[in-house]
Assembly symmetry: C2
């Protein structure tokens, strides 16, 4: 199945309950409330260049947020989320809001195409003098992605035109030419946007610029050193130590370990995978594969969270995955969805989709509250009750990263090649796809992720030879399938985690897929110190957790499960918009008989207790309360 390409988000309609609910929430609650927050925080106003600019601390802002150099990126991500959402249902009010932003940005743009509102308003002379910290290219990338998504959803191209002029300016400014700066972004992002723009416009210069940024990164003499020196800064530590944070410590093809700021890292790896696909660049592909192994084999939370440390918002050491202090930024899980998606298109293997799904349903989705207006920035796997969702943040990056992901999730369901279709995600969808010369409509019905019973109808205008590849998730043991009611041999026909049904399809053909979803225990590699002697409960793609609110008789930090206690599936239509809970019996350490002893010779007594677990993504929607994902095993 060569030359696999994602099916556009505009080609796929989501019909299942799970994603429809999230999508509706994003469209009707999240995007409008985020627009209000952008206004409150002064971000919208910052698009209109004023002299003098508003003060850094916006006095009338009741929460006292400060102005941030990366505000343009927040605007870009909001527009991008809006664009994806509008593809599902147009909304004149949201469109008017985007159009107003586009107009402001067009007015702000300098005659040479430069467009960074912070720099134009506050320090135009400092343009392109501090790529390491200034976020100019990062902001450009997000605005460009917003412009592309909005154009794709609505056909309106004012912002896209503005951004293409800006990209022209960036193309002139950076590169290996004598008059050019040999710089690259301190916070990677624009590479992904440029590749998107190339795919939209077929303008090769966009791909070349992305390639330049990736290949130039981390080379010596170090550009960030040179520009720091030009600014008169002292340089203390060797470049390599200093630049691990932004993965510029060595040329990207030589990098073998995931280090530094997790979001920067994962955006970069995603761009590397895109370039490996577009350029058939084996060096980049190999670098991606080495980095993929490092992160997924030693540095990934069971929730698909990444970057355990708040200190660098990023990666630390192999197997260092603390639960209570997990940073696991929402943005990093979103970024992993991007990277995994691109690896999947380099090499159709369900292990990439497994990680995508893990991050999507757990570490990323947990970032958005049930009401669609509260967020997690860091996604801890254990809480003493002090961790809670917030309504906004000085750095609101995660808020619009999770909304743009949810709004675009239809884009992760299908891919097409010249001779077939690959289905990666389930949950109710209708896709109108072009495969070679053929129009194919696939209608997938399921209650996924709550149930693994999936039916696909394949509609073609006339009998057509096609390969249909259906992902068998890594967690699914003994999957079954039927074509038009006849059982097929799943094990025999599955390669790299995709069940291939290759046949001459006719209108009305039906495939039934059964992915059994018993609750399952998951264990971490013993080198993960925080999880030793512990077990996590999962079902289907979902990781579960124990919230105090569901377990009123036992402090969740003191509960234990025995290795063989049955775990029951208990759907709860009334809870959190309808979820499947898991119920079991466990025990709880007793403290009541300890008196004043801090230490004693008798082990703690235990009492039996009924336990209830909820999906991890859904936790902390009933107020902050203690939570455990990894449970001690008796």
């Amino acid at each position: 199945m060569g030359n696999l390409r994602p099916a556009a988000f505009t080609a796929v309609e989501l019909t299942g309950d799970f994603w429809r609910e999230r999508l509706e929430t994003v469209l009707t609650r999240t995007i409008p409330s985020q627009h209000r927050k952008l206004a409150e925080q002064g971000i919208l106003e910052s698009l209109t260049i004023q002299h003098p600019p508003p003060p850094l601390r916006i006095p009338r802002n009741p929460q006292g947020f400060t102005a941030q150099i990366f505000w343009d990126s927040d605007v870009g991500k909001w527009i991008e989320a809006a664009g994806y959402a509008l593809a599902h249902r147009r909304d004149p009010k949201i469109e008017a809001q985007v159009d107003a932003m586009a107009q402001a940005l067009e007015r702000a743009q300098l005659p040479n195409g430069y467009l960074n509102c912070w720099h134009i308003a506050r320090c135009p002379e400092e343009r392109w003098t501090n790529l390491r910290d200034s976020h100019e290219l990062y902001c450009a990338g997000h605005l460009l992605e917003g412009a592309i998504a909005y154009y794709q959803a609505t056909g309106r191209r004012q912002l896209l035109d503005v951004m293409e002029r800006y990209v022209d300016h960036i193309t002139d400014t950076f590169g290996t030419g004598e008059q050019q700066k040999r710089g690259y972004p301190g916070h990677q992002e624009i590479e992904l946007a440029l590749i998107e723009l190339y795919r939209l416009t077929d303008d090769r210069r966009r791909l070349d610029l992305a390639e330049y940024f990736i290949n130039e990164r981390g080379r010596g003499p170090h550009y960030f050193d040179a520009e720091a020196k030009a600014r008169g800064e002292d340089l203390h530590a060797p470049s390599a130590d200093r630049y691990e944070y932004c993965q510029a410590h060595q040329p990207v093809r030589e990098q073998t370990e995931v280090v530094g700021h997790a979001v920067r890292a994962l955006y970069m790896y995603a761009a590397m995978a895109d370039l490996a696909t577009e350029l058939r660049d084996e060096g980049l592909r190999r670098a991606c594969e080495v980095l993929w192994k490092n992160v997924t084999e030693t540095r990934m939370y069971v929730t698909g969270g990444f970057g355990p440390s708040a200190h660098n918002e990023g990666f630390t050491a192999d197997y260092d995955l603390p639960n209570d202090t997990a940073y696991a930024e929402t943005c990093a899980s979103v970024a992993m969805v991007f990277w995994a998606w691109r690896m999947l298109h380099l090499d159709l293997d369900s292990r990439y989709a497994d990680v995508l799904e893990r991050a999507l349903y757990n570490g990323a989705l947990s970032g958005l509250s049930h009401d669609g207006e509260h967020y997690f920035y860091d996604n801890k796997l254990e809480s003493d009750g002090s961790h809670q969702r917030w309504a906004w943040h000085d750095c609101p990056c995660c808020t619009m990263n999770v909304s743009r992901l949810v709004a675009s999730v239809a884009g992760y369901f299908y891919s097409t090649s010249d001779d077939g279709v690959a289905v990666h995600l389930y949950g109710g969808s209708r896709a109108r796809l072009r495969v070679g010369e053929h129009e194919v409509t696939i209608t997938e019905n399921s209650d996924y992720p709550w149930s693994g019973f999936i039916t696909l109808h394949v509609d073609v205008a006339e009998p057509t030879d096609l390969s249909l590849k259906l992902r068998i998730p890594g967690w699914a043991r003994s999957a079954g399938a039927k074509v038009n009611g006849s059982r097929i041999d799943v094990a025999a026909d599955t390669q790299h985690g995709y069940l291939e049904v290759r046949r001459r399809w006719q209108r009305g053909d039906r495939v039934e897929l059964e992915l059994p979803m018993p609750p399952r225990r998951v264990y971490a590699h013993p080198s993960v110190r925080a999880d030793r002697g512990r077990v996590a409960l999962c079902r289907g793609p979902l990781v579960y957790c124990f919230e105090q609110v569901d377990n009123p008789t036992a402090p969740v930090s003191l509960i234990r499960m025995s290795r063989d206690a049955p775990v029951d599936v208990a759907p709860r239509a009334d809870l959190l918009g309808g979820v499947v809970t898991l119920a079991s019996e466990g025990s709880v350490l007793q403290t009541s008989d300890w008196g004043r002893d801090l230490y004693r010779a008798e082990p703690p007594r235990v009492a039996q207790v009924k336990l209830t677990a909820v999906p991890y993504y859904a936790w902390c929607n009933r107020g902050p309360n203690p939570m455990q994902t990894w449970i001690a095993e008796q």
Copy 2:
């Protein structure tokens, strides 16, 4: 047994192997090597006032240590350790070194008695302007304690005279009089020294000054605020928040929770207990009892370590006792020995001696290496192999705190009252005591802490009615005892953990005490998160740990013990100067069959393994290597 008083360290000779070895090491290795370090670091030189003073970073010092405002205290502690050690064996070289320091200090002393070498050399105009941070009173306290110990050991009083003049100056300077400053030390210590001086000289003004410092502490308006304002500093946080660090957030009698810097806190509580004894002050006694409960019931490591956090070098929250990041400064365990000793003299109860012994044999003793020339500042209960002993430190407080404790340990064995003797520690000793009108010599023979078989000979010139109180440690179950070969009823005759043998003693009377020492498992209160599902091994007063070097076939972080595996006692004369090790069978989590999985459905396999534990105090004497004190229980 009213009016219990410690028997002077000069009255007790240590004859048992355990403490003799430590004492010899301190006398022949630690004290001489510390003197060399004091010279290398520039500390000795700092006693000779030079204009201009040497630079803050001493260029010729190969380790690059910086000058410290509290250097006088290091000199004081070294002299104090030397004083105690010299009581065991005089040493002309060490005495000449002390005398040279005394001369330098006498020359440095200002005509009004003031004596702080840092301030005299560098900033005489800043004297007594920043009690919060300047450590002047702390340094004075340590120099005074050194002067007292040296005088007691040698009868030489040059330094004592110097320090009494300085104390006179301090007495004039601080107090409630109109011309006086209402200040008190930012780092408590001098209170203990003043009470010692009072006990030596019977000069009531010394006790009054200690009482003033304790009673004034934390009162409003806050003295540290006033002096900060006088220095022109901005004050941001409320005083209470700011001053918890040094326990000056409220008057000491109102304090109910152990907070802040652990060494400051424990020195202060020790002084409060001393004052409660000397002044029969019930308010201070009650405050001590409340604080004692708080710390021993919720904030004490099983090793008798205190203060889990490096951030404030101190206390955090109830049950917050992490093992791998434990700070548990050596000085804090030493300070707890001081406090527990004073609580024991307020109220003869073995629970105080139990904590004393716990801190002494574990958290404090671990601070000094087997070779006597390396140290732990922080005493972690778990290490991945990166924690190691160091030869010296920018802040060498712990080095001389542990040496002064070891050198003075004879002073913790006996107390006397008007009608009897209490024996608190065992391990081979000969004490010549005065009880009322009688001379009593007690000879105690044992191989404690390796064995609980203890024989005491009581020698009196003529038949004498005396109460002999023998401590029965809290860990000792079913202790037995005989008097002149006849078994006595230990349970019936034991009150508050002391077995009383009250009789008319005759020359040659013999008491045999048996404290059974089976290895025992210890469990922590389930609220101690780090120890849940874990067990510690102890024997007698010693806590044990598993060092990698003794367990070559299993990573100690992955070992587990079953609840019922036998634990054998295995003496090893060849190891670490002769220790008793513990041997058992356990299991170890296997990693070899995990391949590249970070998570999987099958629990980790385990393999059986032989385990060896060594006394905690003795760990990390064979190079840095992984260590676990709390072991997972299967």
